[in-house]
Symmetry: C2
Subunit: 146 residues, 2 copies
DNA sequence: CGTTGACCTTCCCACCATGTCAAAGTCTAC
DNA sequence: GTAGACTTTGACATGGTGGGAAGGTCAACG
């Protein structure tokens, strides 16, 4: 039985987050000492490590709640787990695509930017125009009309 | 001169966000009518569209503040703009790499998961183990020690 | 026994960018 | 003059995390 600090270092989940997970019902309330200190067993640490690993894989707390339920259910169907995982993969992939789109646009713009002391800049010109994927204009006299 | 609703639809920035950007000092406070309604000029819309476009490219509000300053400064050096953009590209790329790592791990795990009625599941087994990139165990008897 | 320092408790605040809702005031068109 | 669409401010929520304050507890050392 260890205090929250030990549990935190043993599980890789900060004490702050352990309390948070308890408050939102992701984990069952820890046992308390007479003084009110939380105590954690080896099994509790096991659960916390599970959560930590799932978080590292980008699962939301909501997803983790589902995974924990399945984890605890020895009679679960692996299809249920796989469904959560593949849905998560899809969501991650969508996010990746979105970010890659941004990178592609920015790289194109940056390539055309001299990056010197001169003021003309296609990056600002594009933000300025805002109507095309890549407004590769000459980049002159860009700025607010003021 | 238009009201905030018109400004919102004309710029693609919601009325809520326009007020927010004003409250955090990203944009200068709008002119007000006698009744206190905010009024926006074509130039104001121009600025809002600039912000919208930059947000679409994933720039933080903090970055946008810098970009706006440069945008307004006709004597800026394009190198300053490029620096912000390339730093942002790097950050995006790091995020993409991170997400791709998650996807790769999850895909490996999902591939090995039968996805049927049986309870053994390598995905849970991996979360359980938590000590390797891919604990491709047999996936049996996974769950809390309880 | 007393003190010190490391720990724990709860509670509040902040982030970031956005949405929702409510109460109240204003404008416009009929 | 009234209805309906707008505006204003304000509060609260999201998600997951960090920080800090104010106060209680524990263990070690003298």
């Amino acid at each position: 039985m260890m205090n929250i600090g030990k549990a935190a270092s043993a599980s890789g989940v900060s004490a702050k987050m352990i309390r948070y997970y308890e408050s939102i019902g992701l984990i069952t309330p820890a046992q308390r000492s007479d003084a009110g200190y939380r105590h954690y067993s080896a099994d509790d640490i096991h659960v916390l490590r599970f959560i930590r690993r799932a978080r590292d894989l980008g699962f939301s707390v909501h997803d983790i709640a589902g995974l924990l339920t399945l984890w605890r259910d020895q009679g679960r169907a692996s299809a249920d787990v796989k469904r959560i995982a593949t849905a998560h993969i899809t969501a991650l992939q969508r996010k990746i695509d979105e970010l890659q789109g941004m990178v592609a646009t920015l790289q194109t713009l940056a390539e055309h930017c001299h990056g010197d002391q001169r003021p003309d800049c296609p990056i600002l010109a594009d933000l300025d125009a805002a109507d095309g994927a890549c407004g590769c204009s000459d980049g002159m006299s860009v700025g607010p009309r003021s």
